[in-house]
Assembly symmetry: C2
């Protein structure tokens, strides 16, 4: 008997890339097929949810399940497309496990784009783009998001600032020096695209801080009297911005 394929949070959700409309056919990728066939023991007729970042969320049924491949047939739409608020997270990469957590939680918290940036004190010098994307996709599927965050190619801070779209305000988490509480700064900044910028484990160096503070589109902000790890600061800042300016109200 056909069943709904469930996970802890409800019906299994899968991110796909093809257009979604009633009757559309979706060929799952190898990883997804393996997961359904061998972990969830799926069979023809079983139901999942799919989304592609453009067309909303749809019910789909397994039309064909062989030893290695799964094809879905799309049914009806369950949720219309809705965008996340236009918020970027610009972050200096940290070491592997914290990076996975940061990517997953930033995705749950509704970030539109993850932008890795290399700063002078960044220890990590290479980004594993595939891993970043895989973590973002999984978190988007499990958090009932209708899209996967864009992943920017990693760049050095100077290049990022030189090419920055100046209508997008950067809230720069800066523990030292004059800065306003993020909630106040976000509230006063009004509508418009935004970015949260956090540094590496060692923070930004004095020259970087001076450069950032000199830019009209940068607002230095504080996150309380305690010293936060880079990933804690990023997540706290995302949550606060969403509560004040985003889709949490």
């Amino acid at each position: 008997m056909a069943s709904d394929l469930k996970e802890a949070g409800g019906l299994t959700r899968l991110f796909v890339t093809v257009a979604l409309e009633p009757g559309a056919t979706v060929a799952l990728n190898d990883g997804q097929a393996h997961y359904l066939l061998h972990v969830l023991r799926a069979r023809a007729g079983d139901r999942v949810l799919v989304f592609n970042g453009r067309d909303g969320e749809w019910q789909a049924e397994i039309a064909m399940a062989s030893k290695r491949a799964v094809t879905l047939k799309v049914g009806t739409r369950t949720v219309p497309q809705r965008e996340v608020p236009d918020l970027w997270l610009v972050f200096a990469p940290v070491k592997k496990t914290p990076s996975d957590y940061l990517t997953q939680k930033a995705t749950e918290l509704g970030v539109a784009r993850l932008q890795p940036v290399f700063t002078r004190r960044t220890i990590v010098t290479r980004i594993n783009d595939e891993r970043l994307l895989a973590n973002a996709v999984e978190a988007a599927e499990q958090s009932a998001r209708l899209s996967v965050p864009e992943i920017g190619a990693a760049v050095v801070l100077e290049k990022l600032l030189a090419t920055w779209p100046q209508d997008r305000r950067i809230f720069f988490c800066d523990e030292s020096g004059e800065a306003r509480p993020l909630a106040d700064a976000a509230r006063d900044a009004g509508e418009g695209p935004a970015a949260i910028l956090t540094g590496p484990e060692g923070g930004f160096d004095p020259a970087e801080r001076e450069r950032l503070r000199g830019l009209a589109f940068v607002t230095p902000v504080t996150l309380g009297p305690r010293v936060l790890r880079a990933d804690t600061a990023a997540l706290a800042a995302l949550a606060i911005w969403q509560a004040v300016r985003g889709d949490w109200n």
Copy 2:
């Protein structure tokens, strides 16, 4: 030549239990002694910072360093004692690594007390109190906190509610049903002690949710339109409460 013992965030900070005043002697515990002697290669005369949750933060110098033991002599106070806001985190324990992560980050975010609670859908049935405390101490040391959060003994939800101090409002993160955005609810709740309550991976069951919603001191709150993991919800809620009602402004 004597030096300041430093870590990534600055001078090494250690949580101790003895009273702190000029000239006081502090015998470090085995773990701390080992860390100073064998990781930081400390020697007599080297300087650290100490705090005990009561007397503020003080400079201290290594007075004696043998193969296995370290004794400090306290110098001058660097920061007067200041309390964190009266905010508790009541959380259903999750599996090991997320639990370490949650404890560390909740401590950085200034929580006054960590209270584990067992709910019907809690998978984890035993709390490692020592591990919880060790994580809290380390995070307090590294985040420049002046205190370590209290750690409550784990209890079942019903007992927790039956003995709850009713002047402490519980903000109950409830994804289903009528609820207000946390920022609004926290703002309107006014002054006074508070707690954030988050459930296990599977959420609260219907009977628990009904019980909680029936209590005058419980306020159901939402954290945006996406589904958050238990630890993400806890951290986001702590950050928002601190920004709206705590010491982040």
